[in-house]
């Protein structure tokens, strides 16, 4: 087992990337962690609510506190974190082409590459969607929790998954009013405990409802919503006008695949996890030798699962680079899978568990 002096390069310093880098560094492997943003942590520092799970998943801890802990660990371990560094290409032979501060580019020869590039929010086009005041839920969350700016006084949220409902709660906490949360499907998407805390604060939910248009002169002044039929077509005569100045779109996320495609990773289409994503196995290896995919890039789930996937890739990459023995790798992988499986249980987790199982089965066949 020869020790490769080329570093593992982790792209994306969110929960998955940080955990991957920490596992690698703990095993003694050289690691470079790159992120295009000026601060590490990905979306963790916007998460001011307490996380679910068990103690080993840091349940009851607020997301930003988990972010602080991971950052402290990475600093203590002395991980080479390169911020304001955009990875724009993965060359054959694992050359990571990085642009630093939009002014200098270089290629780093990597022993392996872990892609933890996250996901992007889906848009929703409707008449008036370009008016100022229409934004994604993640944008509103960034404004409120990072920049401490209230995007509006009275908000309509489109989409009742956990993202929409949690952002609704955080907008209430920031002092806004939430006029309604609407959902196209006949049933609400998010956890009942999340919807219940927003409902008891007086926020109505409307299922089987869509947004028809946003109206206003300089910005959003009103939203027109309507009931939809089973084919999601608006039902004439059910229109209702809500006086709002902000419309938050929370209709799902799509894995960020640019680098995975550039690296040549084979994709698989899994609508439950956000559409196309790189095929991968149980060690989070993609179809390309030496390239791993973790977190939302490998199928949109949540921060808790992203962290465990990051650990899986970090553990295996440390083994592949010769810094971890096979027995230790297998033992740590198994423990991580135990924690991951426990997060993919229950009415919400089963669907994701089944979807992931499909990816892993395909990953084995096509690898």
């Amino acid at each position: 087992m020869g020790v490769d002096s080329k570093p593992a390069v982790v792209v994306g310093a969110g929960p998955a990337g940080l955990c991957a880098a920490i596992e690698l560094k703990r095993a003694g492997a050289p690691v470079v962690l790159m992120d295009e943003n000026g601060k590490p942590g990905g979306q963790l520092f916007k998460q001011i609510h307490k996380f679910f799970g068990s103690r080993e998943h840091s349940a009851g801890t607020r997301g930003f506190e988990i972010g602080r802990r991971l950052l402290a660990d990475s600093l203590e371990l002395g991980i080479d974190v390169r911020l304001d560094t955009e990875v724009v290409g993965i060359e054959p032979g694992l050359g990571v082409w990085a642009v630093e501060r939009r002014s200098r580019s270089y290629t780093l020869e990597a022993g392996c590459v872990i892609l933890a590039t996250g996901a992007s929010e889906n848009g929703l086009a409707f008449p008036g969607w370009t008016l100022p005041g229409v934004m994604t839920a993640g944008c509103a969350q960034t404004l409120v929790n990072v920049h401490r700016v209230l995007p509006g006084r009275r908000v309509l949220i489109v989409g009742s998954g956990n993202v929409g409902v949690i952002v609704g709660y955080q907008l209430l906490q920031a002092g806004a009013e939430v006029a309604a949360i609407i959902e196209g499907a006949p049933a609400l998407g998010g956890y009942g405990v999340h919807t219940a805390k927003v409902r008891r604060a007086g926020v109505p939910f409307y299922c089987g409802t869509t947004i028809l248009r946003a109206e206003g002169e300089e910005g959003v002044e009103r939203a027109v919503i309507a009931k939809v039929d089973r084919g999601f077509k608006p039902i004439a005569g059910t229109e209702e006008t809500l006086e709002v100045d902000t419309i938050c779109i929370a209709v799902g996320l799509t894995p960020a695949l640019d680098l995975a495609y550039l690296a040549g990773c084979k994709p698989i289409f899994v609508p439950e996890l956000g559409g196309n994503m790189p095929l991968h196995d149980g060690y989070m290896r993609s179809s390309v030798e030496g390239v791993y995919v973790v977190g939302d890039t490998a199928g949109v789930e949540e921060a808790s699962t992203a962290m465990e996937e990051g650990r899986l890739a970090g553990i295996h990459a440390a083994y592949a680079l010769g810094f971890l023995g096979e027995a230790a790798m297998r033992e740590r992988t198994e423990a991580t899978w135990g924690r991951l499986d426990s997060l993919r249980q229950g009415v919400f987790g089963q669907k994701r568990f089944a979807a992931k199982a499909r990816i892993l089965a395909e990953g084995k066949v096509r690898a």
Binding site: H49, K50, F51, F52, G53, S54, R55, A59, G60, T61, R62, L172, Q173, G175, E177, I181, P186, A187, L188, Y191, G192, V193, H194, T195, A196, K197, V198, R199, R200, A201, G202, V203, P204, F205, C207, S342, L343, R344, Q345, G346, V347, F348, G349
Partner: protein, 169 residues
């Protein structure tokens, strides 16, 4: 919309019938005997801080962690440690004493209410059901910014009341 014909997956909050069916609502007799923990967690999600927060071992989730929590009322001392521990803000403690009901519930909005303040008590749909009075507010560091508010209100509303109306300009 009244609480009676609403449901968790269409209206966002559980109806009293759904809660009763799940066995999480204490009876009036139980409420008159002692303060009762009400864990309004009726969906299988992977979560167990209620279990690990309980110093008496009165709340059990077990394995798998998607089990719904089960309360052992004989072990529970109504210490309230589980109220701020629940990430879903789904736990309250209620009791009855003559004409008065008392509730302790989690609260994460500023400004915090103050003891002695007269407030609107709301049901799970966010509708005001009666007036009440805040009797205590506790927010020690171990709560990690989830305050616990205690309020009193007329006994006949004990099943419906879940929180207080948020102050809003």
């Amino acid at each position: 919309m009244s609480s009676t014909n609403a449901s968790l997956k269409t209206d966002g909050a559980p109806s009293i019938e759904e809660l009763r069916a799940a066995g999480v609502l204490p009876s009036r007799e139980q409420l008159a005997q002692r303060p009762c923990v009400c864990v309004e967690c009726i969906e299988e999600i992977p979560c167990n801080p209620c279990e690990t927060s309980c110093p008496q071992g009165a709340l059990t989730v077990g394995d798998p962690i998607t089990n719904l929590p089960v309360i052992d009322r004989d072990k529970c001392t109504a210490c309230g440690a589980c109220i701020p521990a629940c990430p879903g803000l789904a736990i309250t403690i209620k009791s009855l004493s003559g004409d008065l009901a008392k509730i302790r519930f989690p609260w994460e909005y500023l400004p915090l209410p103050e003891a002695g303040e007269e407030v609107d008590m709301v049901d799970r749909m966010g509708m005001t059901v009666c007036r009440g009075k805040v009797v205590a507010v506790s927010n020690p560091p171990r709560n990690n910014r989830t305050a616990v508010v205690a309020a009193e209100f007329p006994a006949e509303r004990v099943d419906e009341v879940i929180s207080i109306r948020r102050k809003h300009e």
